[in-house]
């Protein structure tokens, strides 16, 4: 019997990420400065008043919350900073109105900006940022003072871990660049100074660019709705995985904006 219960239990575990994919309505308070205050439970303690900050690459919690919610610091990643004790830790569970994430990295630190904000705006004990909100499809609405959160499969990179890996793998072989399809467009080295696009210097006969009726002198402004004001950006757009079908172009020709479409190429040889 126990065996069946266990089996059933693990089945529940497997399906739980899907069944929990409901949309959570998480309220926020718009402070007089325009900052957003939210109330978050950490390790089932709280709720604690935190600032919701899409510009914060890390979560940040006060030492007080660290102690109160019994957050375990990572050994060897703690110390004393100019601002007092600081450290890195994983929050076992972070819950904003039912939208919950497990094992979320955070910094623990009494941050002077947080203190300055709290002095003016009332209690604020930290920041909720990217490691939390990246785990959801998120809809922010200031008018309703609400964020809709629906669990996502997106797995954020651990900023700290990632940069450490970056440091230690400096000499590792770079990944091969993506193979870019050939469309038959030769471009200027420098972007046009007025329109900030790359200038078509030649359209090769028989190419897909010729078929799309591009002509010499056209200024290429955007590719698949991304601005291409230098070659590096152009190659980023061309190499991105979602460039698989036809390519949408925005072009300036004799001062006028026109749209063009490059057909999907047959081969992908450079």
């Amino acid at each position: 019997m126990t065996k069946y219960i266990l089996a059933f239990g693990s089945f529940l575990l497997i399906i739980s990420p899907i069944s929990s994919r409901e949309t959570h309505k998480a309220p926020m308070e718009i402070l007089k400065t325009g900052h957003l205050r939210i109330h978050v439970k950490i390790n089932d303690k709280g709720p604690y008043p935190l600032v919701f900050d899409t510009g914060a690459p890390l979560n940040l919690l006060s030492n007080k919350i660290g102690k109160d919610a019994n957050i375990k610091r990572k050994p060897g990643r703690s110390g004393i900073s100019l601002m007092g004790p600081m450290g890195e830790a994983d929050i076992a569970s972070l819950d904003w109105s039912g939208a919950t994430v497990q094992n979320v990295p955070t910094m623990i630190l009494d941050h002077p900006t947080i203190k300055a904000l709290a002095d003016h705006l009332g209690p604020i004990e930290g920041i909720v940022g990217f490691p939390f909100f990246s785990r959801f499809v998120m809809t922010i609405n200031y008018q309703k003072a609400q964020v809709l959160l629906e669990a996502s499969d997106y797995v954020p990179e651990d900023l700290m871990k990632n940069t450490m890996a970056f440091m230690f793998q400096r000499d590792a072989k770079p990944l091969a660049p993506p193979t870019i399809p050939t469309f038959g467009i030769l471009l200027s080295k420098e972007p046009d100074p007025k329109y900030h696009g790359l200038v078509v210097e030649a359209v090769l006969p028989g190419s897909l660019a010729e078929k799309a009726k591009l002509v010499k002198g056209d200024i290429l402004i955007s590719v698949n709705h991304r601005w291409v004001d230098n070659h590096s950006l152009l190659f980023r757009v061309l190499g991105e995985q979602w460039v698989k079908g036809p390519v949408d172009l925005e072009i300036i020709r004799q001062g006028k904006t026109i749209q063009a479409k490059l057909e999907k190429p047959q081969g992908t040889s450079p």
């Binding site: 899409t54 630190l109 900006t113 940069t163 993506p178 038959g184 972007p191 190659f235 992908t268 450079p270």
Partner: protein
């Protein structure tokens, strides 16, 4: 990015979309920087595209001083400016947008260390964000911004000018925190995608050989005399193992860059050198 600003009681001049697509969302493409910032590109009064962090932790639309100056935007005495024409990458356009012309210390720090993998020129904060319902899914390369038809309250500041100095001191401390973070994260991250040089060759594999299947008329390869049927033995003095290897080797060549091919044409062995072009 948590930013504070001294708000001066300017009347709220809010943006209006050029074409009011009521209830319909605008596609706002973004990129995630190496520092995990959501970066949106925008042009101010027709300037070169600039990079802004989508930042609910910023109370206003911040434009750093240097790019503002380049775009010909001069702030008033209190540090504010009205940008007549704000154009986001994608579809969204706005008129008469109030901006704070100031270089937040966080940007200075990050740009100084090159941490983000791109230069950051400011933050899009409350004064703009509050006007839209914003949907962000990190599995997609764009957000959807739907205009909300309301006038968000003007944010209120931190009181009088007397606080400025103490705040300045606080901010400086945060600056040193960011730098501390920088030393943890290992300095400059070079992440600019490589520009691939254009040669104008199409290749195929034929009985274990890598062969030129076609050459674009007018391309660098054509001008150098490469011909369909040529077998490629070496690229830049490295042996070509198979088609995938040849493509990989070609994709590693920048622009403009000199490249030498060792070829077999019929019974002849020859080598051809040309310079790749910008293009695709």
């Amino acid at each position: 990015m948590l930013t504070m600003v001294m708000w001066i009681g300017l009347a709220g001049l809010l943006s209006h979309q050029e074409k009011d697509k009521a209830l319909e969302g605008f596609v706002v493409p973004y990129r995630l920087s190496k520092t995990q910032h959501i970066v949106v590109r925008a042009r101010l009064n027709g300037s070169a595209p600039l990079n802004f962090v989508m930042d609910t932790g910023a109370p206003a639309f911040f434009v750093a001083e240097e790019p503002a100056k380049k775009a010909g935007i001069t702030p008033d005495e209190s540090g504010w400016a009205i940008i007549g024409d704000l154009q986001f990458e994608g579809q969204l356009k706005a008129k008469k947008v109030k901006a704070r012309i100031e270089t937040p210390f966080q940007l200075k720090g990050m740009n100084g260390m090159g941490l983000a993998g791109m230069e950051l020129h400011g933050m899009i904060g409350y004064s703009i964000l509050a006007q839209y319902e914003i949907k962000l899914d990190l599995k997609k390369d764009h957000m959807i911004w739907t205009p909300l038809h309301w006038t968000p309250p003007e944010p209120k500041g931190f009181g009088g000018g007397g606080k400025k100095n103490s705040q300045g001191a606080t901010l400086e401390l945060v600056g040193s925190f960011m730098q501390g973070l920088g030393s943890l994260t290992g300095g400059k991250a070079a992440l600019t995608p490589k520009v691939q040089g254009f040669s104008g060759l199409a290749l195929e594999q034929n009985e274990g050989k890598v062969v030129v299947s076609s050459v674009f008329t007018g391309s660098p390869a054509a001008k150098a005399g490469l011909m369909p049927g040529d077998e490629i033995k070496r690229i830049k003095d490295e042996e070509v193992k198979n088609l995938a290897d040849a493509k990989r080797k070609l994709s590693m060549i920048g622009a403009p860059e000199e490249v030498t091919f060792s070829l077999v044409r019929g019974k002849e062995t020859l080598s051809v050198t040309f310079k790749t072009a910008f293009g695709f």
